[in-house]
């Protein structure tokens, strides 16, 4: 979210997407898979935040919790209840994985909102890995737990027999579209919000619209704070819904 606009040759030049460039932290050169980049830095901060909240926050293990411990317990209870409500009691076995996803996304989203930071969840590479891992896990789990009965997910037995093949095709397509929508929803939301803020920041270079631009940035920032949480919530609850399909494939 680097706020930098250059006025070149009398015209405004926007680089709203420059904030998403992955660059090496030390020196420059080719980016190998092991290169320490800004991705590494901001993901490391995500880990630190999670560790700080849960290792330091719950250090007291107090029955009457401190503030940090309350937040940690709140996050735990929030996701725990979500998994229990949506996936059922059998889904609680997979709670640690879902909690991990939620924590990563929510902290990455909020760290991405710090001005000049780098939003790791704005990258389709990141969200696609998250969504694909959910998709593959759920699919494999569905077949392992239910065998071929998992295919009943696509065979809507409550529909008239003539309609079922048509519905099966639709269900099949929608099933395979899941990882795509799952990943693009998160990445797209974060990217679009950050890019829009950047575009408004570009207009701030013109003195007459600068106040409007600043107000717009503040308003969109507020919206982005909401989006940062809601997208983490949506990603998590969809994971729970998919997990429910794997655990109970019948309609």
């Amino acid at each position: 979210m680097a706020v930098e606009t250059e006025a070149e040759e009398g015209g405004l030049v926007f680089h709203p997407l420059d904030q998403f460039i992955v660059k090496p932290l030390f020196g420059d050169g080719e980016i190998h898979w092991y290169t320490i980049t800004n991705v590494t830095f901001w993901m490391a901060l995500t880990i630190l935040c999670v560790a700080g909240l849960f290792a330091l926050g719950t250090r007291g293990r107090a029955i009457v919790p401190s503030r940090m411990q309350s937040v940690a317990e709140l996050a735990y209870g929030f996701v725990y209840k979500m998994v229990e409500d949506v996936s059922g009691r059998e889904g609680l076995k997979y709670f640690p994985y879902i909690f991990t996803l939620f924590l990563f996304i929510v902290f990455a989203n909020f760290l991405g909102l710090i001005p000049t930071s780098f939003a790791t969840t704005s990258h389709i590479a990141v969200t696609a890995v998250l969504a694909l891992s959910v998709f593959l896990t759920v699919t494999i789990l569905g077949f392992v737990l239910n065998g071929t009965k998992f295919l009943g997910l696509f065979w809507v037995s409550s529909a008239p027999l003539a309609l079922r093949p048509v519905l099966a095709i639709i269900e099949l397509i929608s099933y395979f579209v899941r990882p795509v929508s799952h990943s693009i929803r998160l990445g797209g939301n974060i990217m679009a919000g950050h890019a829009v803020i950047k575009v408004f920041a570009g207009f701030a270079a013109i003195a007459t619209v600068a106040p409007l631009s600043v107000i717009a940035i503040a308003a969109i920032y507020g919206l982005e704070v909401l989006v940062a949480f809601i997208q983490a919530y949506v990603f998590t609850i969809l994971t729970c819904v998919y997990l429910k399909d794997a655990l109970h494939p019948s309609h």
Binding site: H32, W33, P96
Partner: protein, 231 residues
């Protein structure tokens, strides 16, 4: 030969020292001028940010900047392995924190709190029962005391009433006796008075009769007085 090469490639001699040196050292293997220039151009273009000037360097920088501006950084597939690798590292680290630290601790705390709350509720229930028992006992004691007080009051009232009745009876009796006595005395006095009246009347009548100068027998006077007194 060497000078010509650098000039045509547009590279400043002091920046790329090794080339003239190399050219000098391998004098025998020098290739045609055009090829050397082409090689240098390709190399400069590949690195993009090398210290090159003139047309070759300018084009290379332009091409580099153009590639970044044209597409979204999200679709720059060359950074994908890097992002995916660090994402997996991050996820494993967070999973470690969650499964080894967060869940045991928070789970234990929540269970402990649940236990404490349940215990407290149970003891509160017990205390409530005891309070109810105590209240019942208190009420019973109060009712007993009230009944006892009533009983004592009634008893006292009855005994006082009995005493009172006895006293009243005795007083009535005494009063009756006194009244009878007094009546007797009055009757006696009255009888005495009657006799005295007759005596006085007889005497007076005898005297009056004597004063008129007549004598009257006692019997006639007595009869006349009796008649009068009765009247």
């Amino acid at each position: 030969m060497a000078l010509e090469t650098t000039a045509r490639a547009g590279i400043e001699p002091q920046v790329l020292q090794p080339i003239p040196v190399q050219v000098e050292g391998n004098n025998a293997e020098i290739e045609p001028t055009g090829e050397v220039a082409a090689d240098l151009g390709v190399e400069a273009g590949a690195h993009g940010d090398g210290p090159v000037t003139a047309e070759v360097g300018y084009d290379a920088i332009d091409a580099h900047g153009g590639a970044e501006a044209a597409g979204m950084p999200q679709l720059d597939f060359s950074t994908f392995p890097n992002q995916i690798f660090w994402l997996l590292v991050t996820l494993f680290a967070i999973y470690f924190v969650v499964s080894r630290i967060a869940m045991p601790r928070i789970g234990a705390v929540l269970a402990e709190r649940q236990g404490t709350v349940t215990n407290d509720l149970a003891s509160a229930e017990e205390l409530k029962l005891r309070a109810q028992e105590a209240e019942a006992a208190y009420d019973k004691a109060l009712a007993d005391a009230r009944a006892e007080a009533n009983r004592i009051a009634d008893e006292t009232r009855a005994s006082i009433q009995a005493d009172l009745d006895a006293e009243l009876a005795r007083a009535d009796e005494q009063i009756g006796a006194k009244t009878a006595e007094s009546e007797a005395a009055i009757a006696e006095i009255r009888a005495g008075a009657m006799d005295s009246v007759r005596d006085v009347a007889t005497d007076t009548a005898k005297a009056i009769v004597a004063a008129f100068g007549a004598t009257a027998d006692d019997a006639a006077i007595a009869a006349a007085v009796d008649q009068r007194v009765k009247g």
